[in-house]
């Protein structure tokens, strides 16, 4: 079972996150486009989803809403960590389990993911 599925359009950020989390022993799969995101989640059924808010074609919040409305109850309940570059103002995302503002400390990312996976 896949540990983490991440949808992030900025390749450098995606690479950094994957590098950090992979070194903790988790399996990470990357996607860069909002369009195929929900299909990827349905297919992989990850234990945790990391979503960027601003994505091309389909925003992270839209994907989150669609995920929460999925008829597969266990899929709909997948924990979601949102990443946002919009600053503190956009941290209030009720459907997300956690929100992390960019730029972030790597330790914070690790701790947050660990807590959500356990």
């Amino acid at each position: 079972m896949l540990d983490i599925l991440m949808i992030e359009d900025e390749p450098n950020i995606a690479e950094a996150v994957r590098f950090i989390l992979t070194r903790e022993g988790w399996q990470v799969e990357l996607h860069s486009d909002g369009l195929g995101g929900i299909e990827a989640i349905r297919g992989a059924k990850p234990r945790l989803v990391i979503l960027d808010v601003m994505l091309p074609h389909r925003s992270g919040t839209e994907i989150l809403a669609e995920l929460r409305g999925d008829h597969d109850a266990s899929l709909a309940a997948t924990p979601v960590l949102m990443l946002t570059a919009r600053g503190q103002a956009s941290l209030h995302l009720p459907q997300a389990d956690a929100v992390l503002a960019k730029p972030f400390a790597n330790d914070d990312l690790r701790a947050m993911v660990r807590r959500m996976l356990n």
């Binding site: 359009d9 900025e10 450098n12 950020i13 690479e15 950094a16 996150v17 590098f19 950090i20 070194r23 486009d33 601003m54 091309p56 074609h57 570059a85 919009r86 600053g87 103002a89 503002a101 960019k102 730029p103 972030f104 400390a105 790597n106």
Partner: protein, 883 residues
């Protein structure tokens, strides 16, 4: 008294009159009219009614017919006391219409018909000229009294000669002070003041003589009354009711319609308020003038020879008694009476003759020859007046010379009275009855005049015979009754059966509806009518203000509560206050309908309608203002919306900037932490370091772009304007842009010859735009092989047009309008590395250069058009910045 002394005194008196008139005219010219406009001056000037005919003739009249002379004084007294409101109204209407004479008044009322005015002028001239002649005769006679009584051996110019001197002198005085200028109000302060002074001399002389007669010749009042009582049995002294009635009526009419009386009573009146004093003071003056008439007549009959002329008793009595100074004073009184009458009458006649005879004639003749010149007209009018004065004087003198005898002239006063009285029905009807019309006026006045000519005037000068009358009826009274009755009936009949024309109707309305601004006629009533007034006032002012006003009015009347009595003062004040809110006519009508109980008249309604119309216009104006306000409000709303949108845009912009800054910073931060990881491979370490380096560069570019954009947007960009060649610039731009995606080799289609366009611009900024557009093409053009075509054209105005077109798939229609917006690249899946500010900057640069950059749809690939002016517009602050 020596005749020379008499002449010298007379000349001195004349000089005094000239001096007074001159001083008054000067005061008036300097605007010091306060004392000139005093009601006393006005009242005294009315005494021009007492001409020489009254001054000398009244005594003669009394000695022949007893008390009948009193009708001459009683008629005006009745009019001034009984018809006081009518006189006020007459003066008001006349002032309102700037009426200059009785003829002008009649004409103005009946459709401004000049034919009517000319006709009334004719009556006035026929009636008044013999009357003026009578004055000349009286002066001449009074001179003769002195000449024959004291110095018979002096070769005196004949009676006609004296009259000629007098006529000449009076003509001079009248021309000097009557035609000094053409005042719009036709008032003559100098003349009026001199006449007022003469009125005092007249009265003093007569009273002095009366006192002398009663206490000097008789033995006091009791003795005097006894002597008068003895005469009561004389056949001439029997009271004739028919004559009394006719004479009262005619003299009452005369005090208004005689040309000289209309002149002083109406034309020379500053305003109708003068009448509030004159209303009692003039009758008092007349009473004083008539007080000693009978005593003088009786004493004259007793003391003087039977063949002595009773018309000269006033002079011969003191002269015979050796009272030379008294005789001289009386002479001056008579002289005053005669001269004042002649002067005023002549002015009035001259005004009518010049305005209604000469002017229309002149205008008619002139229309054929040349154009209008106001100064010319003014000169003509003044000269016409002077000519008319001379003519009236000359004709009067000739008339006096021709008739010669005293008897023919003696009755002239009454004859003149009855002649002018023919105008009365038309005048009164015109003032009171809106239905009166011109045909009626013409018919009435014409028939009356004809009857007067045939039955009164011509017989009086010895032509034709008096009307055969029923036995026992006085011929004069009968003629007066007949002419006026026919006159009035014709006036009413023709008015009823004729239609007034529009001008007439308008003038009629104006004459008849002249509303008294202050209602003295309102009677005080009980307070039962006050309540509705309060209700009405509340509706107009609101409850609090109305209650306050009523309370203070009640307090003023010494009443508690808020219901004052309906006194005229209260009603007037209420009306004035209301008028301030709702207009005079409406206020008047409202108060009348609530408190006065009087019905609304048509003219009231018309005035209300006028005010309603005005209110409607006001409402229209308000409505326009409201529309204007609404428009302003809408504009404000739009501006506010725009500001809000701008604010939202600014927030969005800040959010976007934040996003654009945070994204590279996230990479920089994350990787710099990762770099501290001990067991990194060298390859990873190098790669991560390069990412940090690139992302830092991206941050710098973003900050540069933002700064550039803000400078360009604020208009503070420093432009370095120089001549430039487009070919070179395109060359450099292509070269610079080739660093982007260098692996793609573009075929560039150019027209080098067309590119040699010289232009004045900021070359660096233009280069920036070209690089940006070409770089975009290199980034996004997805065609294989990629082709970029650049076409340069000169515009009609000497500028340049650069089209840059690639052969890729272009920009989808929906996004074409967004590409020049800031951060428009944000949702662009291609993510070509920039912050999305490039085209926004290009747009701002082109605006700064006075040109523009647009997207050209329909070219297949992405196509941009850059338009440049021959030289950029110079910003106002450019020089300042450079300095």
């Amino acid at each position: 008294m020596p005749f020379e002394a008499l002449v010298a005194g007379c000349l001195a008196y004349v000089a005094l009159m000239f001096g007074v008139a001159f001083a008054a005219d000067r005061a008036a010219a300097q605007g010091r009219v306060r004392w000139l406009d005093h009601p006393a001056v006005y009242t005294l000037s009315l005494s021009v009614y007492c001409s020489a005919w009254t001054f000398y003739g009244a005594v003669g009249y009394a000695s022949r017919s007893g008390l009948e002379f009193a009708t001459i004084y009683l008629g005006p007294t009745v009019v001034f006391t009984g018809a006081w409101w009518g006189l006020r109204r007459l003066v008001r209407v006349a002032r309102m219409h700037h009426v200059t004479s009785i003829a002008d008044l009649i004409s103005a009322r009946f459709g401004k018909s000049n034919r009517l005015a000319a006709f009334v002028t004719l009556i006035a001239v026929i009636a008044a000229t013999p009357y003026v002649a009578l004055q000349l005769q009286s002066v001449s006679l009074s001179f003769d009294v002195f000449a024959t009584d004291s110095l018979t051996d002096i070769p005196l110019a004949g009676g006609g000669g004296t009259a000629l001197w007098v006529a000449g002198g009076l003509a001079l005085f009248t021309i000097l002070f009557g035609t000094r200028n053409l005042a719009a109000d036709e008032r003559h302060h100098g003349v009026v003041t001199a006449i007022a002074l003469e009125a005092i001399v007249k009265l003093m002389a007569f009273l002095a003589l009366g006192v002398f007669v009663v206490w000097g010749l008789a033995h006091g009042p009791a003795d005097m009354l006894a002597r008068i009582a003895e005469r009561a049995g004389d056949p001439g002294w029997v009271l004739k009711p028919d004559r009394w009635t006719a004479l009262l009526f005619v003299s009452g009419a005369a005090v208004v319609v005689l040309p000289r009386m209309f002149q002083v009573l109406v034309v020379e009146a500053a305003d109708e308020d003068r009448l509030s004093v004159a209303g009692w003071a003039f009758p008092a003056y007349l009473f004083a003038m008539s007080l000693f008439v009978l005593p003088i007549a009786v004493m004259g009959q007793e003391l003087l020879p039977p063949d002595a002329n009773p018309d000269l008793y006033v002079l011969t009595l003191p002269a015979q008694s050796g009272q030379n100074w008294l005789a001289f004073l009386v002479f001056l009184g008579g002289f005053s009476a005669a001269t004042s009458m002649v002067v005023v009458c002549t002015i009035a006649l001259a005004t009518m003759i010049s305005n209604h005879w000469l002017m229309p004639l002149w205008l008619m003749l002139r229309r054929k020859s040349q154009g209008d010149d106001p100064e010319d007209l003014r000169g003509f009018v003044l000269n016409a007046r002077r000519l008319a004065i001379l003519a009236v004087m000359a004709v009067s003198w000739l008339y006096y010379q021709a008739t010669g005898g005293t008897t023919a002239l003696a009755a002239m006063g009454l004859v003149a009275f009855t002649g002018m009285a023919q105008v009365l029905p038309a005048m009164i009807g015109g003032l009171l009855w809106r239905g009166a019309n011109r045909r009626g006026a013409f018919g009435g006045v014409g028939l009356g005049f004809a009857l007067w000519l045939a039955t009164i005037f011509l017989p009086s000068v010895g032509i034709g015979s008096p009307l055969p009358v029923p036995p026992g009826v006085d011929p004069l009274a009968f003629a007066i009754f007949l002419s006026l009755a026919v006159n009035t009936l014709a006036f009413i009949g023709l008015s009823i059966f004729g239609m007034p024309d529009p001008v007439e109707r308008l003038q009629g309305l104006s004459f008849v509806s002249a509303v008294d601004p202050i209602r003295h006629s309102r009677v005080a009533r009980g307070s039962d009518q006050v309540e509705p007034l309060l209700v009405m006032a509340r509706r107009v002012w609101g409850s609090e203000d109305a209650l306050h006003f009523f309370q203070s009015e009640a307090a003023f009347q010494g009443k508690s509560g808020y219901l004052p009595d309906l006194t005229p003062r209260f009603l007037t004040r209420l009306e004035r206050r209301l008028a301030g809110s709702i207009g005079a006519a409406t206020a008047h009508a409202m108060i009348d309908s609530v408190a006065g109980g009087s019905e609304l008249t048509v003219s009231d309604l018309m005035q209300v309608a006028t005010e309603a119309q005005r209110a409607k216009e006001e409402a229209q104006r308000l409505e326009n203002a409201t529309t204007e306000l609404a428009r302003t409000a809408r504009q404000l709303q739009e501006a506010n919306d725009k500001l809000t949108a701008l604010s939202v845009q600014k927030d969005a912009f800040l959010g976007q900037i934040s996003h654009e800054l945070r994204t590279p910073m996230t990479s920089v931060r994350a990787f710099s932490e990762i770099l501290r990881t001990p067991d990194l491979s060298d390859a990873d370490r190098d790669r991560f370091a390069k990412i940090i380096y690139d992302e830092a560069g991206r941050l710098t570019r973003l900050l540069d772009d933002l700064l550039d954009l803000s400078v360009l947007e604020s208009g503070q960009a420093q432009l370095s304007i120089t001549p430039a060649n487009l070919h070179d610039l395109i060359e450099r731009a292509l070269s610079a842009a080739s660093a982007t995606r260098p692996e793609r080799v573009f075929r560039v289609e150019r027209e080098p010859l067309a590119e040699y366009v010289g232009i004045i611009t900021d070359a660096d900024r233009l280069l920036q735009v070209l690089i940006n557009v070409i770089t975009n093409a290199r980034k996004y053009c997805d065609a294989e092989p990629p082709v970029l075509s650049i076409r340069v054209r000169r515009t009609l105005r000497g500028g340049a047009q650069i089209d840059i077109i690639d052969n890729g798939s272009g920009i989808e229609t929906a996004r074409q309008s967004l590409i020049f917006e800031k951060f428009s690249r944000l949702n662009d899946p291609a993510r070509a590395g920039g912050a999305g500010l490039g085209l926004a900057i290009c747009k701002e640069i082109m605006a700064n250069l006075g040109g523009e950059i647009t997207y050209l749809p329909g070219h297949g690939g992405a196509a941009f058009r850059i338009l440049l002016p021959r030289r950029p517009p110079v910003p106002v602050n450019a020089g300042l910045r450079r300095a």
